[in-house]
Amino acid sequence: RENFVGHQVLRIQPTNEEQISVLRSLAEKHDLGLDFWTEPVSVTKPVDVRIPFKVLQPIKIFLLENDIQYSIMIQDLQDLLDEEERVMKTRSA
């Protein structure tokens, strides 16, 4: 079973078209393993992206270097999924 320990979901708020363009170029880099839950389209819509642990710090640095604001929407995805599974099993029982 795929493990998502350390994966974070960041909610990124681009503030101009240039930042959207930067995020789009990031989305094109498939080797990073980023999973865009919502895509970079306009400054009115936040971008949610799941970031694997192995590239988490480089991506955060990249965002800071490009002055792109973000917040952590999900701190550790596996924790959330473990809780989801626990609730499923408990309720089933």
Binding site: R1, E2, R11, V41, L81, E84, M88, R91, S92
Partner: protein, 309 residues
């Protein structure tokens, strides 16, 4: 396992087998109202089950599907709740009763069963179908980019490892082709609602072109009514509009195809967004999500009923 659909836990997420058992129980409990149609098979050979709610023959129909993107579990869970709501309200709620006395409702609860099963067994984040892509290790196609409406245009990827990979050709995915065949063979669907999650939007065609659809003003007004009704329950605020103007350009999308087939009331939902969990909503959000969405669905279905074409 619950013995009947009253004992089913609607506030919990369920496996594909559990949902399929629910479907069979619902049919067995309501033989004069509900039947199960198998419209095809998934790539891995699973049945594509559709619930048909009908009180007569040769009726116009309303289609609802949930969870074509497998990981959006709150949509399949909402679909299950809708199914129970329909049998509970028929004969009690005058509006739904009137609709069902004149029209059929088709509900596909698990539109992408291979993907859904995969999210329960192997990869909770799986979104696409499970068909291999020749020459690539990456598996699956985004079934909401695989329809024959602007297929291959902007707003879909030609790269098989992308989450928005459109597939090698339109209708390449049996999960899509089966619905296409059903819609064509039925020939009298009047509304088509495809439900996704998340980000709280109600959208109408088009996604592949910025040209407004010819019914835009009516679809826009109905969307406003639907999201107003939805918000009346818990205050959940939705945005609405055409796909291309509200989110982004997306080619090969479901409702663009259904609209071009002549199904005027074609909509797609993006369900509740708490701002904390994305599509991975905790199970305690299932029933509120389904309840509020039902109000919007009723608005669309009532309008369809009141405005024959």
């Amino acid at each position: 396992q619950p013995r009947n659909t009253d004992g089913y836990d609607y506030a919990n997420y369920h496996t594909l087998n559990e949902i399929n058992s629910f479907i069979d129980m619902l049919v067995a409990e309501n033989p004069n109202l509900v039947s199960k149609i198998v419209i095809g098979q998934s790539y891995e050979g699973r049945p594509l089950n559709v619930l048909k709610f009908s009180t007569g023959a040769n009726r116009p129909g309303i289609w609802i599907d949930t969870g074509i993107h497998s990981r959006e579990w709150v949509t399949q869970a909402s679909g299950t709740w809708f199914a129970k709501k329909i049998v509970t309200d028929y004969g009690r709620d005058p509006a739904l009763t009137a609709i069902l006395n004149k029209m059929d409702i088709f509900l596909e609860i698990v539109t992408n069963p291979d993907g859904y099963a995969y999210t329960h067994t192997s990869n909770r984040m799986w979104r696409k179908t499970r068909k291999p892509n020749s020459g690539y290790s990456c598996v699956g196609v985004d079934p909401n980019r695989n329809w024959d409406a602007g297929f291959g245009g902007a707003g879909a990827s030609g790269y098989p490892c992308s989450e928005t990979y459109r597939g090698p050709y339109a209708n390449s995915e049996s999960e899509v082709k089966s619905i296409v065949d059903f819609v064509k063979s039925h020939g009298n669907l009047k509304a088509f609602v495809s439900i996704h999650s998340y980000s709280q939007m109600l959208l109408y065609p088009y996604g592949y072109t910025s040209t407004p659809c010819k019914d835009q003003s009516e679809l826009h007004a109905l969307a406003k009514k639907a999201i107003t009704d939805l918000a009346s329950l818990y205050g959940t605020q939705y945005t609405y509009g055409s796909i291309i103007n509200t989110i982004y350009q997306a080619s090969g999308g479901t409702i663009d195809w259904t609209y071009n087939q002549g199904i005027k009331y074609s909509y797609t939902f993006e369900l509740r967004d708490t701002g904390r969990y994305g599509f991975a909503l905790p199970a305690n959000q299932i029933i509120p999500t389904a309840q509020e969405t039902w109000l919007a669905l009723m608005a669309i279905m009532q309008h369809t009923y009141n405005n024959p074409y």
